[in-house]
């Protein structure tokens, strides 16, 4: 069955087409809410974050540039920023409640394996798999789980400087492998 591309759907969402908006939300809500929940850990807060992410995506639609990345990546980047703002506004993160979300004890490769079916994530998942394990874990912790390097340092029992170094090396390595998006 023919499916509207993410970019075309987003164009409709941005312009206010109600049908496109409903489809856009339906298509991305699980990913947006999932990332929000991973970072803020409280379902009711995650919903607030996810709602705000969709609103900001509409509000700042004009800043999206497909030459710099996909709609999904851009939307999730917004979600992460909103979630981090939410977490920082409340100080330390609460302990997980309800359905547990993955933490550092979960091998991020499990996550990567689970999303193998997502075509848009396959490439970056493969590159992440090729990273040295300590670098990959540090990078996943600060990106997908939104932890600060201090939090990672405390949880992993390693110096904060070491965490920062691993994150920097990992991100640069991925960028070099992926080819730098245009600036």
């Amino acid at each position: 069955m023919w499916e509207v591309s993410d970019e075309a759907l987003f164009a409709g969402y941005a312009s206010g087409d109600p049908e496109a908006a409903a489809q856009f939300v339906d298509r991305f809500q699980r990913r947006v809410f999932g990332l929000a929940l991973a970072i803020v850990r409280v379902p009711v807060d995650a919903e607030e974050v996810a709602q705000e992410a969709f609103v900001r995506a509409w509000r700042f639609a004009a800043s999206f540039d497909e030459r710099r990345g996909s709609v999904a990546a851009w939307l999730l980047g917004i979600t992460r920023n909103v979630a981090l703002d939410s977490v920082r506004g409340r100080g330390r993160r609460p302990e997980p409640v309800g359905d547990p979300v993955p933490d550092l004890a979960v091998d991020p490769l499990d996550v990567a394996a689970a999303i193998e079916r997502r075509a848009d994530a396959r490439r970056v998942a493969e590159l992440m798999r090729a990273l040295p394990d300590p670098q990959r874990r540090a990078l996943v912790a600060v990106t997908l789980w939104g932890l600060s390097t201090r939090e990672v340092s405390e949880m992993a029992g390693i110096p904060q400087g070491t965490v920062k170094t691993r994150v920097r090396l990992a991100l640069r390595k991925l960028r070099d492998e992926m080819g730098a998006p245009i600036s």
Partner: protein, 225 residues
């Protein structure tokens, strides 16, 4: 510094210093932009979770509320940057017509312009600028034409409108000007053509939209430069 900025790992003070540097350093800006793009790509591998029941309805309701509050400024420039570029690239499709309508032939227009010049008449010839009315997914459903004159007017023609919308629905024709002001005119569902006068000049029109009762854009035409 690049990865820390791209991942949002800096404290407020560190971030301020970094941003001050970035403002003056194109090389670092490019470095951060490339790393930020990769950081966003990483999020594609993130976990999925089913949101609470009714999440999508609440998002739509919130969007409707925000749009109603902010639409006058945001709809004019909304649309992904690449699509806005495409719209600009399609400019040649927009028809600028001189006097035209009653003359119907270029030769006759030339004769009229020549006559105006010969008479020293400084009054500019009335013009009409036309653009396609498109839905959010780019489907062309009609045209909007901005006529100069006194007063300037906007005419919108959406063939098939009667069949596309429910009879009892409420719709508005919104004309947004370059200064962000907007005039709303209620339109019925029993016609396919409307014409409204403008408060200011035809050249100041930024966009023409048909909105439903909740403020959602049904179709629109972009006249912004």
């Amino acid at each position: 510094m690049g990865p820390d900025v791209a991942l949002g790992l800096l404290t407020g003070e560190e971030r301020a210093v970094a941003l001050a540097h970035l403002e003056a350093c194109a090389a670092c800006r490019a470095e951060v932009a490339s790393l930020a793009g990769v950081a966003d790509e990483l999020l594609l591998t993130g976990p999925e979770a089913t949101p609470p029941e009714g999440f999508d309805r609440r998002v739509m309701a919130r969007l409707t509320e925000v749009r109603a509050r902010e639409a006058p400024r945001s709809t004019r420039r909304t649309g992904p940057a690449h699509l806005r570029r495409r719209r600009r690239a399609r400019r040649p499709d927009r028809r600028r017509l001189a006097v035209g309508a009653t003359l119907g032939a270029a030769a006759a227009a030339v004769v009229l312009v020549a006559a105006l010049v010969a008479n020293g008449d400084a009054t500019p010839a009335p013009t009409a600028e036309q653009a396609d009315m498109t839905t959010g997914v780019g489907k062309v459903v009609g045209t909007a034409t901005v006529h100069s004159g006194n007063p300037a007017t906007v005419a919108v023609d959406v063939p098939g409108w009667e069949d596309a919308v429910p009879e009892d629905a409420t719709y508005w024709l919104a004309v947004e000007m370059e200064d962000g002001s907007r005039t709303m005119t209620h339109i019925g569902t029993d016609a396919t053509w409307w014409k409204v006068p403008l408060q200011s000049g035809a050249g100041d029109v930024a966009s023409v939209s048909v909105l439903d009762g909740d403020g959602w854009v049904w179709c629109s035409a972009d006249f912004s430069a």
